[in-house]
Amino acid sequence: MTTEKILLNFDPKMKNLLPALKKISACFGYVDENAAQKVADYFFVPLSKVFETASFYDLIKTKKQPSLIIQVCSGANCAVESAYKIIREIENHLHIKAGDEFNPNVKLEIISCLGQCGSGPVMIVNGNVFTRVMASNVVGILQGYL
């Protein structure tokens, strides 16, 4: 799959800019400058406009991502179900801090609500969603990805 091939699936209309960027980000992990320039040419907008839009949204990345991304929801409902305990557990186990970008291989992100509030706390590892996570099985879940 190349950026050009993805772009050909979209009409060069402004309403397709966001879906196209999302698709590219999902395909390659992030939108790099090269791809962004191609998007800009295709939609006939300045490069700055492409990054202006891309950098706003959570589901579009503009930087290379680590190979292991762990996300934990800290929305009020998950917080009530002790999401912070899970965050602490992961921090201790992997020796990282939530939100830090120092480790090039792994990142722990605190994210907002995914609409799974009935079955919190919610944890996502590389796109796979785990619900009703308990602090005691965090290590077990992570083992499969390390």
Partner: protein
């Protein structure tokens, strides 16, 4: 429970949401036929106005008035285009009512969308769905295809003069895009920042055309109103805001659930009757009504009526109710609220961009037990500024729960 009025949930669990035939045999798309054969857009909007239906997304604005203003708007632009947008960008913490509608009965929503679009004279409709709802987007996509095959969508709907095309637009993970002007910006390929009003979207919305943006739950009420008339709807629930509402009850209750209940119900009854009361051994502390942007309700106010009321003390918001018991560490909740709004603040206006950030820092220090005198005075200042000077409601919401926690739970007293 007997004698329940069910408008939105009547088919839940009864039909296969993936099959349009089952929805039709349960009486589906009859409202659309009635609208096309027996009604005009003007008479339909009149019915919706009589019904008193108001927006279920949180603001509680009259749906009839909104649809009428787009309907009456002269098609001044060259192509005479108007747009209808179904707001399914549900991302308020604790809220999954719209997701449940799509999961259980997507065609009910679709029928409502089609009727509303035809009422305002739109030929193109967008369903703006939360980017994380991938499965739901797929269900809706399938539903649209099925409806197209049956000629409920497309050119000459049911051999009438109406044409309509529906497109599903998946968001990219931004809470603020639930605000209608930000949502419009997002479809236009811009940053999802709210816009100045006026001009209102009803006059100058998507691509500068008159646009109606309605919440999914609101729209799901429309087929019932068209079928049974506005007067019948106005008799349900409370006088100030008729109809039923989906309440999402979560937290320290026995049976967390999504329940359809007539508006005007007491909060106490929701917790006791519908969610089965408190869990064994847990003592009620407070409930948060309306997701993370909602206010806190203490034991003594549990008898309050749940309705959309401009003068009401507790706004209903999205209808999410989080019940918190006394074992909860309030500092974790404060941090949860503060970090949510810090992440989701769009950065357009300084009060919200800076305020939510400072609020988060203070929440962290509170959690670590390191709050200083300076923080306490600053906190008041930040909360006031957020409430009074931020550009859109997000900034105000960021202050709501935090202020309530300080006032009602006397949070800072133990540091004095």
């Amino acid at each position: 429970m007997k004698n329940e009025i069910k408008i939105i949930t009547k088919n839940w669990g009864q039909i296969n949401p993936r099959r349009i035939e089952e929805y039709i045999s349960a009486g589906g798309y009859v409202a659309l036929k009635k609208f096309i054969e027996k009604m005009t857009p003007q008479s339909a909007v009149e019915e919706i106005k009589i019904s008193g239906l108001c927006g279920r997304g949180g603001a509680g604005f009259s749906t009839g008035v909104k649809l009428e203003s787009v309907q009456k708007e002269p098609a001044s632009s060259a192509d005479g285009e108007k747009y209808f947008i179904c707001n399914l960008d549900e991302s308020e913490p604790g809220t999954y009512k719209d997701r449940s509608i799509v999961d259980n009965d997507p065609h009910l929503l679709l029928e409502g969308i089609i009727i509303s679009s035809l009422i305002i004279g739109a030929k193109k409709t967008f369903i703006y769905i939360n980017g994380n709802y991938r499965k739901q987007a797929e269900i809706l996509g399938q539903a649209v295809e099925q409806a197209r095959e049956k000629k409920f969508i497309g050119e000459k709907i049911l051999n009438s003069k109406y044409n309509l095309d529906i497109e599903i637009f998946s968001g990219a993970g931004a809470y603020i895009c639930g605000e209608e002007t930000a949502l419009i910006n997002s479809i236009e390929g811009n940053r999802g920042e709210p816009k100045m009003r006026p001009p209102f979207p009803t006059q100058c919305g998507l691509f500068g055309r008159p646009t109606a943006v309605n919440n999914a739950e609101t729209i799901a009420n429309i087929p019932w109103i068209i079928l049974n008339g506005g007067k019948a709807y106005a008799k349900i629930g409370s006088k100030k805001s008729p109809g039923t509402k989906l309440f999402i009850i979560n937290g320290a209750v026995k049976n967390p659930c999504v329940a359809e209940v007539p508006l005007g119900v007491k909060l106490e009854d929701l917790i006791e009757k519908y969610a089965g009361g408190m869990q064994e051994g847990k003592e009620f502390w407070f409930a948060q009504v309306g997701g993370s942007s909602g206010r806190l309700v203490l034991q003594k106010d549990l008898k309050m009526k749940m309705e959309y009321d401009r003068d009401g003390k507790i706004p209903l918001g999205s209808g999410a109710i989080l019940v918190v018991d006394k074992t909860m560490d309030i500092h974790e909740l404060l941090l949860s609220w503060a970090s949510f709004f810090r992440r989701e603040s769009c950065g357009k206006c300084a009060p919200c961009r800076e305020g939510t950030f400072r609020l988060y820092e203070i929440a962290q220090r509170l959690k670590d037990g390191e709050i200083s005198e300076r923080d306490k005075t600053a906190l008041e200042d930040i909360l006031w500024t957020l409430r009074n000077t931020s550009f859109c409601p997000l900034g105000k919401f960021a202050a709501t729960a935090f202020s309530d926690a300080i006032e009602k739970l006397k949070l800072l007293q133990k540091y004095e």
